[in-house]
């Protein structure tokens, strides 16, 4: 029996164009099904239709039918499906009704009118299944992102649903939190047989846990099948998958382990030149010579609440550089950016700036208020009293926002909003740009646009500092890497050197050293073929 069956589903939001244009899809019981597609493709709508949020909570025009475990969503509102299907949204902060984990987990049981004994048992089971029993008495606001998201999953699991729908559950999380959440989903699927319908942008982890994948574009399902073959030509596919496709590995690998097995086999490298390059290649020979120093931190110590967050950090950002800051959450990345931007005064040491510094906050929503993207970007120059429509157009174009210029910023996806926020700060003309987690929630197209903008800005004599967990992006654009650990610089130097010797290495570097990115391999193949 299939868990969820979509039959010719068409749907449009109130006063909006159609978001789904004839979707036919069957989700098999007991599988993990991964839905991929660019922002605005209708992924979220498709997921929300599974438990009737679309159309009952959103309003709008709905045709066709969705049948979830034998119940038609046309006649069953989400509340009438709560006992068979749960829904978890992207934002881990916004899903808590009650200010205490345990009581929030019980919310669904209260609504279903369960007996005291049942509620007590189900809450304990749900807390155990997600491994958060020790957090039961905490307030959700005091938890880390990964813990919050697992608590949110426990909140739907308590009703013992046969299926769970997760709309980008890890896109707002750091890698550790994302791992925890995906591991929990795998465990639910394996141990309890819960069907999982999952949408994601970042596929390095998610693709490996899925049994099936579904590609969505422009409100339609454009492909279904095993994740490997289906994702081979998908722009947001993991680097190893794209590498496998480039090298003609079939089926394309989804994990580093699979890819290394293929690379270890000499027959897996079709071009001999590639093996040559591997022997004595050093990749980038064309690294640009850095210009003058723009921002310099010396012996920087920053304290918060009397406790040191950074102790004695040295950093020199020069014109033409893209510096990637790595480190786990709480290692001091954001504090370092804030100190460079002059927000946190140094307790000791100094920050010397010889050029203006623009800093984009982690959450773009803190900035956006104007009714259109263009006015949002223009507002900065208006505040600085030097309106310059040409600069506005230049930055809209640089970040791939021209087509969105007249949209309301709040109607955009998370990645698009992030780009609007970057444009709104960058348009001020600061040569140094500090970006905090810029790729959070970004789809492949947004990351590509961001990458291009960062490289262009640095080539034009500016400098960019990225605090990020996104190693793949950093491998493609960073010229130097700084790794922070517990407030100290634990490694720094040219990107390739630092990445090569560390566990931070990008996927391609771990499969085919010394290559860092798929593009490098492609270039080597092309030149090698010519040789």
């Amino acid at each position: 029996m299939s868990a969820i069956t979509y039959r010719d589903v068409r749907f449009g939001y109130p006063d909006g164009p159609d978001a789904l244009r004839g979707v036919d899809l069957t989700v098999p019981t007991g599988d993990v099904v991964l839905v991929v597609g660019p922002s605005g493709s209708g992924k979220s709508t498709l997921l929300r239709a599974a438990n009737g949020l679309v159309p009952h909570a959103s309003g709008g025009r709905f045709a066709g039918s969705v049948v979830t475990f034998g119940r038609d969503t046309r006649t069953h509102a989400p509340r009438a499906l709560a006992d068979v299907i749960g829904f978890v949204a992207q934002d881990p902060e916004a899903q808590f009704v009650v200010d205490r984990v345990e009581h929030d987990v019980a919310f669904v049981l209260e609504n279903l009118g369960q007996s005291d004994v049942t509620m007590r048992r189900r809450v304990e089971e749900a807390l155990d299944a997600l491994g958060i029993a020790h957090l039961r008495g905490r307030s959700p606001s005091s938890l880390s992102g990964g813990e919050r998201q697992r608590a949110a999953i426990a909140g739907v699991l308590a009703a013992a649903p046969a299926a769970i729908v997760c709309d980008e559950p890890t896109s707002q999380l750091d890698p550790q939190g994302a791992d925890d959440v995906l591991a929990a989903l795998v465990r639910l699927n394996a141990d309890l047989g819960t069907t999982v319908l999952l949408a994601e942008h970042r596929l390095e982890r998610a693709a490996a846990i899925a049994h099936h994948a579904v590609r969505v574009d422009d409100g339609r399902v454009v492909g279904t099948g095993r994740p490997g073959p289906l994702l081979a030509d998908y722009p947001g596919a993991p680097s190893v998958t794209r590498l496998g496709r480039l090298l003609g590995w079939d089926p394309p690998p989804l994990t580093v382990r699979e890819a290394r097995a293929r690379a270890a086999d000499p027959a897996g490298l079709p071009v001999p030149a590639l093996a040559d390059d591997r022997a004595h290649g050093d990749g980038h020979g064309d690294a640009p010579v850095p210009g003058p120093s723009l921002v310099r931190a010396e012996g920087l110590r920053v304290e918060r609440g009397g406790r040191p967050v950074l102790h004695g950090v040295d950093l020199d950002v020069r014109a033409g550089e893209v510096v990637a800051l790595f480190g786990r959450n709480g290692a001091g990345k954001t504090t370092l950016l804030r100190a460079l931007a002059g927000l946190d005064p140094p307790a000791r040491g100094s920050v010397t700036t010889s050029a203006a510094v623009g800093c984009v906050p982690q959450d773009p929503n803190a900035l956006l208020f104007a009714p259109t993207v263009r006015r949002e970007v223009a507002e900065t120059l208006r505040l600085l009293r030097r309106p310059d429509p040409a600069a506005v157009d230049r930055w809209l174009d640089a970040l791939g926002l021209t087509a969105l210029a007249d949209r309301h910023p709040r109607s955009l996806s998370g990645g698009e909003r992030q780009r609007v926020a970057i444009a709104a700060v960058a348009v001020g003309g600061a040569p140094v740009l500090l970006l905090d987690e810029p790729t959070r929630g970004m789809d492949a197209a947004s990351r590509e646009a961001l990458h291009d903008a960062v490289v262009t800005h640095a080539r034009a004599g500016g400098a960019v500092v990225l605090a990020t967990h996104d190693i793949e992006l950093a491998a493609r654009c960073a010229t130097s890497v700084v790794v922070l650990g517990d407030g100290d610089v634990v490694a720094s130097g040219p990107a390739r050197t630092v990445l090569a010797g560390s566990l931070f290495a990008p996927q391609v570097l771990r499969v085919l050293p010394p290559f860092c990115t798929v593009d490098e391999v492609a270039t080597a193949l092309a030149t090698g073929g010519a040789r």
Partner: protein, 388 residues
């Protein structure tokens, strides 16, 4: 479903929430009863000495049960505000009310025009007027102190959870709102900082309010939409219109009509029928709440129930106003005080004993706040970030 690896959970364990019991030995409802009893006692025995006694008791409750919660820290502020208000009222009364003996001081006076009341401001200040006004204002300070103390010692989530089921939605709104307060404070901070970053750290005042309020509100509303979806997905929504609901609605309307009747009776100067009407109206509205609550299918997870000790406390503190009312009926003229002729207020031992009943919560002391198990609170140190 059945979680295979989960331990077995029998039916014998406690189904009520015991987390707060040690730190907060009394139920929120018991504290509310305490506050109401103390207010009634203040009204029955308004002599300044008794008021001072009640304020002292309230302060003691905050010291013993309030811990270091922000509400406990707000207690002196609220009482201070009430004192300021009282002093203003006394000054206003002294400056505008004239006549009588014992003139303290004579100030220059002015008579206001008719459209402002046509009375004299300033001129003579008489001691009995000042004393009487101070005496009455002191009672208000007492009432504020009592409720400020109750706010300081009550667990507000218990209060929200303890609402009748008919008010479940309103209680949920308050719970969501209170839970959202820290998020909003952080949002305000983030937005202010983002606004400064936009111009490279230079604050621009013009239009700043809109630039800051709109993102805070937009974020809040987006949060609300997500939360609403989460609630709907988790089975939240009101049931349809059941017969019980309809009966409750009519019952509520009848209660309102009876209250209206009470006012009509009062205008006619008939206080007995008015009291009857107020009684009937109260009964009808309470009945409506009970009917609507019974119609709800919702369950409640680990509610803190009133224990026998809570019931005992409610009974004991309720005795205080009852005893004072008895004393008043028996003709004890030392409960109240009159400023004219001016004399020192007298104490009566029975009244002091009755008020001492309000100290009953002290029979149980809060346990020291449990410290978080550091091993459980701190996440295991996250390893280096390794992509899959």
């Amino acid at each position: 479903m059945g979680v295979a690896q989960g331990p077995g959970y029998g039916g014998s364990e406690r189904l009520t929430d015991v987390h707060g019991d040690a730190a907060r030995p009394w139920h929120a409802a018991a504290w509310l009863a305490w506050a109401v009893a103390a207010t009634a006692a203040l009204q029955l025995a308004p002599s300044p000495l008794y008021v001072a006694l009640v304020i002292a008791l309230a302060t003691l409750m905050v010291a013993v049960f309030g811990g270091d919660s922000p509400y406990a820290r707000a207690y002196p502020v609220l009482v201070g505000l009430a004192l300021v208000f009282a002093v203003l009222r006394v000054a206003l009364t002294a400056l505008t009310t004239h006549g009588g003996p014992d003139v303290l001081v004579t100030l220059p006076g002015a008579t206001l025009p008719d459209w402002l009341g046509g009375f004299t401001v300033g001129s003579t200040i008489e001691a009995p007027v000042v004393a009487q006004a101070a005496y009455e204002a002191f009672v208000i300070v007492g009432i504020v102190a009592v409720f400020a103390a109750a706010n300081a010692v009550i667990a507000h989530h218990e209060l929200v959870q303890g609402l009748p089921r008919a008010f479940h939605e309103l209680g949920l709104v308050v719970a969501v709102g209170v839970a959202f307060v820290p998020t909003t404070i952080r949002a305000i901070h983030d937005v202010r900082e983002a606004d400064r970053l936009r111009t490279g750290g230079r604050p621009v005042r013009r239009g700043r309010l809109v630039r800051q309020i709109v993102p805070v509100l937009e974020r809040g509303l987006e949060h609300a939409i997500t939360l609403g979806e989460s609630m709907d997905s988790r089975g939240f929504a009101r049931g349809g219109s059941t017969p019980g609901e309809r009966a409750a609605a009519w019952c509520g309307a009848a209660g309102l009509a009876a209250l209206g009747g009470a006012f009509v009776a009062l205008v006619a100067g008939e206080s007995t029928p008015a009291l009857v009407c107020i009684g009937v109206g109260t009964g009808a509205v309470v009945g409506a709440i009970a009917l609507a609550s019974r119609g709800s299918r919702r369950a409640r997870y680990r509610p803190r129930r009133l224990t026998r000790a809570d019931g005992g406390l409610i009974a004991v503190v309720a005795l205080a106003p009852v005893a004072l009312a008895g004393l008043a009926l028996a003709g004890d003229d030392r409960l109240a005080w009159a400023a004219s002729p001016l004399r020192w207020p007298a104490l009566s031992l029975p009244a002091v004993l009755a008020l001492a009943l309000l100290a009953a919560p002290l029979v149980r002391r809060p346990a020291p706040a449990p410290t978080h198990d550091p091993a459980a609170a701190v996440r295991p140190a996250a390893g280096p970030v390794v992509p899959a």
